[in-house]
């Protein structure tokens, strides 16, 4: 097995990183300048003004890490059993050492921050101002160790001194410490195979995530090249880089901090987490749209256009539907789905009826939708009178044709000689157009005044009625950001959501254990668990827990997205029609033989797919995620393309799509921070990473077939007898009812 080689290689790399790469970052300043700590206690200060921090115990961390890494590497030479034991021991040692070392580091930095703030206070006391309460401040100077940094700042404010900039911000682990943790985790993972019952599930999980994980790693590695090429090492002006080691440290830290920026805010702060969920919401919708299409053997690249149509419909419903909120809001959401669904059904119908390729048609419809949006929101579109007459003529002719197609008798005539009819209509149209397009006296241009367009230079609609708005996160909890900006701490009833979550878990568990026919019993037991949990939590006094609510654009459309994911899962895997769709996707011929109506399925699949994409309007229009509750031309339709990456990464399964969308939400949130943090990097780096993920997943991560071919994988895992696998070329799944694309 080459797991030995892989672990030995990672261990060697980590060993190298302990010598060369920053172990942790002491301090970060605006402009991404940093002071980094290399083991043992070597500090490279690119900011030029960080007071060095002595971290005790670094020598021990270094020695223990090296011993553990040597153990991991050496274990590769041993026989099966001792090897796994050694991996377990060394892995545990490595993780333990790194965590302990990081803990000491954090303590040392905290202490340094306290001391630094105390120095600030002390120097302020020497030059007192009338607002100062010197007693309070002096107490701070005397006994700083007993306080946390937040308490210290708060006390200083009580004493009349406002400390604006905290020193040593952004202290965090560096690439070397991170690699130590990763190597330790891998050693533990492979060592755990000592326990036989764990082997199969571990293998299965590894094989399942191999392609997406490798693709993401490759994409991040490719992005590393770009980041290093574009972003010079941020450093204080006048700072001279001496020697290759310092240069290398700077490069590694720049790269590391770029990645850290991409991930840390979303995963480490409440606000960032909420923002990344907000970024993920539309991606869940478009990912589901594309994924559902893939399952049905259709490639829906038209999600951007369907998003636009959904947004237009939602805007119209939200502006003009009368009635109370409980009626208008669901109807507006439904309108969004309807708009997207119709726009999706059109290429589906063209494929089912004429065999026109849905890939190109959906792409073309994206352009048409973009023009339509601009047309509706641009100021006063003007038609010259002759042009208007031509359009009217065209509308009349198309109307007549449609009516003729609907009347059976006329339809028969047209079917007899379709080409002749088309030619005649075409010539008539040309002649008619020539006649009506002659300028007439008294012609004046027709200016279209669209009532929903906001006057002004900005292309946007009026804001929706209040009855059609989904409240943003702070508003859900009754916070008015205009009165109390920033993060608010409010008491929240956590018992109900917790109880509902427990009920859901109980339902899933019951589905595993109970026999399928006892449907009522499963739901009943889940409901019972929910009630009991609610009663128990209420009794424990969990009704009002203080929660920090960040000012985020996250809104209930996230819940709609989750509901959509559940719906798609249920639809695809639990209904007859969903089964038919998947069968048509895998093998259209076999599905047709089995009684599936391919044409109807294509139209329906595209309509549902489009409806899912249209639902993004619940986030962007009804949810007010773009500044205000209005339809704007700047609606980010690229989310539709990103949905392709989401669906591919999520393996076209709703659970995978939600997880992939969250990952991309994190990346997008991080991307917007790249703009702020670095001088030469923008969020476009993230869109490049997404494109690369698509490319690498298409190439199956360049992995050997053992991981990628389902049959081979099953054989390698021991799920199939060896003779069941032959090297047959797999048949291409994507074939429409009519071959070709003309």
């Amino acid at each position: 097995m080459n797991e030995r080689l892989a672990l030995a290689a990672i261990a060697a790399l980590t060993l190298l990183s302990l010598w060369l790469a920053p172990w942790s970052a002491l301090n970060r300043e605006t402009g991404a300048r940093s002071a980094v700590l290399l083991l043992p206690n070597r500090i490279v200060d690119f900011t030029d003004r960080t007071t060095p921090v002595q971290v005790p115990g670094q020598g021990a961390v270094l020695v223990l890490s090296v011993i553990a890494l040597a153990g991991v590497a050496a274990a590769s030479a041993l026989r099966e059993r001792p090897r796994r034991v050694l991996w377990l021991v060394a892995g545990a040692l490595l993780v333990g050492t790194s965590v302990w070392g990081l803990g000491r580091f954090a303590e040392a930095v905290d202490l340094q921050r306290l001391l630094s703030v105390r120095d600030d206070v002390a120097s302020a006391i020497e030059r007192p101002r009338p607002t100062f309460d010197l007693e309070v401040l002096q107490a701070l100077v005397d006994a700083p160790e007993e306080l946390t940094i937040e308490e210290m700042v708060a006390r200083a404010r009580e004493g009349g001194l406002i400390i604006r900039r905290l020193p040593y911000t952004g202290a965090a682990l560096g690439p070397a410490a991170f690699l130590c943790l990763v190597t330790g985790a891998f050693a533990l993972l492979f060592g755990a195979r000592l326990v036989k019952p764990l082997n199969r599930p571990l293998d299965r999980a590894l094989a399942g995530v191999a392609v997406p994980a490798v693709s993401i790693l490759l994409a991040l590695a490719a992005a590393a090249v770009v980041i290093l090429a574009l972003q010079p090492t941020p450093r204080a002006s006048g700072f001279e880089i001496e020697g290759w080691l310092m240069a290398l440290t700077g490069r590694l830290d720049t790269l590391w901090f770029a990645y850290y920026t991409l991930f840390a805010d979303s995963l480490g702060t409440v606000r960032g987490f909420a923002d990344s969920l907000s970024f993920a919401t539309p991606l869940i919708f478009t990912g589901l749209a594309v994924g559902l299409g893939f399952r049905a053997g259709l490639f829906n690249i038209g999600a951007p256009g369907q998003m636009v149509l959904g947004a237009i419909f939602a805007m119209l419903a939200g502006l003009y539907l009368p009635g109370p909120t409980w009626l208008v809001l669901p109807l507006s959401v439904a309108a969004a789905a309807l708009g997207g669904g119709l726009w999706g059904a059109l290429p589906g119908w063209l494929k089912a009826r004429f065999g026109a390729n849905e890939v190109i048609n959906t792409i073309l419809l994206n352009f048409v939708a973009a023009s339509l949006l601009l047309f509706l929101l641009s100021s006063n579109p003007t038609f010259a009178a002759p042009a208007l007459r031509v359009i009217q003529l065209l509308a009349v002719v198309v109307g007549v044709m449609v009516v003729a197609l609907l009347v059976p008798k006329l339809r028969g005539v047209m079917k007899l000689r379709p080409r002749l009819v088309f030619a005649l209509v075409g010539v008539a149209l040309l002649v008619g157009a020539t006649i009506v397009s002659q300028p007439r006296p008294g012609d004046s241009p027709y200016v279209l005044n669209l009532p929903f367009r906001m006057p002004g230079s900005e292309p946007k609609s009026f804001e929706l009625q209040h009855t059609a708005r989904l409240p943003r996160l702070p508003a859900v909890f009754g916070i008015d950001l205009r009165e109390t900006p920033g993060t608010n701490v409010v008491p929240v009833d956590v018992a109900l959501p917790a109880a509902l979550l427990l009920g859901l878990v109980a339902l899933v568990a019951a589905n595993r254990w109970k026999r399928p026919e006892r449907y009522a019993a499963r739901v009943g037991s889940a409901a019972l668990v929910t009630l009991l949990a609610y009663a128990g939590l209420t009794a424990l006094g969990w009704r009002e827990a203080p929660l920090a609510i960040p000012p985020s654009n996250l809104n209930p459309s996230f819940l709609i997205a989750m509901a959509a994911a559940v719906f798609v899962h249920y639809f695809l895997f639990r209904t007859r029609f969903g089964y038919e769709l998947r069968a048509s996707g895998l093998s259209p011929r076999a599905a047709e033989y089995g009684g599936a109506n391919l044409r109807q399925n294509i139209v329906m699949a595209m309509a549902i797919s489009g409806a899912l994409a249209g639902l993004t309007a619940s986030h962007y229009v009804l949810g007010g995620a773009l500044e205000d509750y209005a339809l704007r031309q700047s609606i980010p339709t690229n989310d539709g393309f990103d949905g392709i990456a989401v669906a591919l990464l999520g393996g076209n399964s709703p659970v995978g799509i939600v997880l992939a969308a969250f990952l991309f939400g994190v990346l997008k949130n991080g991307g917007s921070l790249l703009n702020i943090t670095f001088s030469n990097l923008t969020r476009d780096v993230v869109s490049m990473i997404l494109a690369l993920v698509v490319l690498f997943i298409a190439a199956k991560g360049f992995l050997p077939e053992r991981f990628t071919n389902p049959l081979r994988r099953a054989k390698a895992l021991g799920d199939l007898p060896a003779e069941a696998v032959r090297d047959e070329p797999r048949h291409d799944a994507r074939e429409g009812p009519e071959e070709g694309r003309g």
Partner: protein
């Protein structure tokens, strides 16, 4: 008066058709060999970007010394670089979809997505804004024909039509290319390298599509703008289908689309229709064409299917 208007319209139709024709002729090589190439759009963008950047940096030392300095070879170097980059980008599509047997459409979509993200990243690094490159002084020259002047690429595009026809239908290379696209197993059995021919077809399509892109940035304009191809790659693909994968058909189809775009430019000047309406007309026309209202086409048989040698 009328004739002058018509001739002007015709000339601008020829200019508008040029990038479409180049890309569609490129697509012809790829699709005749059995590889769908939706990546034309992305390759055009990469070609446009490369041409603009290389021209910009070749002329930069001269332009620094004297504003507006003529450096006759700068755009040609840019053109050459665009062709190389086009071949490389198409090569990525080829490797992923031929060697790794990826879904050809997904691989191409990835390249199109990259053509949105990568130029923005590069432009930010070089020029500090993510949408436009620096303007170049030395565009491709204009060669006159009667009262009109055209870029050399216009002449090249139309001259390529008979050349492509000859290569595809009258040379051993063309025969093999078509054989590989129609029945790869049969071609393989008589000793033709299926993967080799497909690599050649896809890379050729990259070279031609990149020329089309270069025409946009250094032929018809003087800088690169993100997403400046505006769907021309997709329209070229539609023209390829409309033209039934035949050079002459492709010529007709691209001329039709070119005429439409020229009309759009002419109409855009007068206040006849809102520009947004005119913009969407070529796309609607293309959809009507694809739906078979204007004739049907039969694709190369093995198109879109990876070949596994048995």
């Amino acid at each position: 008066m009328e004739t002058v208007v018509l001739l002007t319209l015709l000339a601008s139709a020829l200019r508008a058709a040029t990038p479409l024709l180049l890309a569609a002729l490129g697509g012809l090589f790829s699709e005749r060999s059995g590889v769908v190439n939706i990546a034309l759009e992305g390759i055009m963008l990469f070609g446009a970007l490369t041409a603009a950047l290389v021209t910009y940096y070749v002329e930069l030392p001269f332009v620094r010394e004297a504003t507006g300095a003529r450096v006759w070879y700068a755009p040609w170097v840019g053109l050459l670089a665009a062709m190389i980059v086009g071949a490389l980008v198409a090569g990525v599509h080829a490797v992923v979809s031929i060697r790794y047997k990826a879904d050809q459409i997904i691989s191409a979509v990835a390249i199109n997505l990259m053509a949105i993200g990568v130029p923005a990243v590069i432009l930010t690094g070089l020029f500090g804004n993510s949408t436009t490159s620096g303007t170049i002084t030395n565009r491709l020259p204009m060669w006159s024909l009667g009262p009109f002047t055209f870029s050399p690429l216009v002449y090249l595009a139309f001259a390529l039509v008979p050349v492509v026809w000859f290569v595809v239908f009258r040379t051993p290379f063309g025969l093999r290319l078509r054989a590989v696209g129609e029945h790869p197993a049969a071609a393989d059995s008589v000793g033709i390298s299926v993967t080799g021919m497909r690599y050649a077809g896809v890379m050729l399509s990259g070279v031609l599509a990149a020329l089309g892109g270069a025409y946009l940035s250094i032929g018809a304009f003087n800088q690169f703008i993100t997403e400046m191809s505006g769907g021309r790659g997709f329209i070229a693909l539609a023209a390829l289908i409309f033209g039934k994968w035949h050079p002459l058909g492709v010529l007709g189809a691209t001329l039709l689309f070119g005429a439409f775009q020229a009309l759009e430019t002419q109409l855009g000047g007068s206040a006849l229709l809102p520009p947004t309406v005119v913009q969407s007309l070529p796309f609607i026309l293309t959809m009507l064409v694809l739906a078979g209202f204007v004739g049907r086409a039969v694709a190369p048989k093995a198109i879109g299917k990876p070949f596994t040698k048995s």
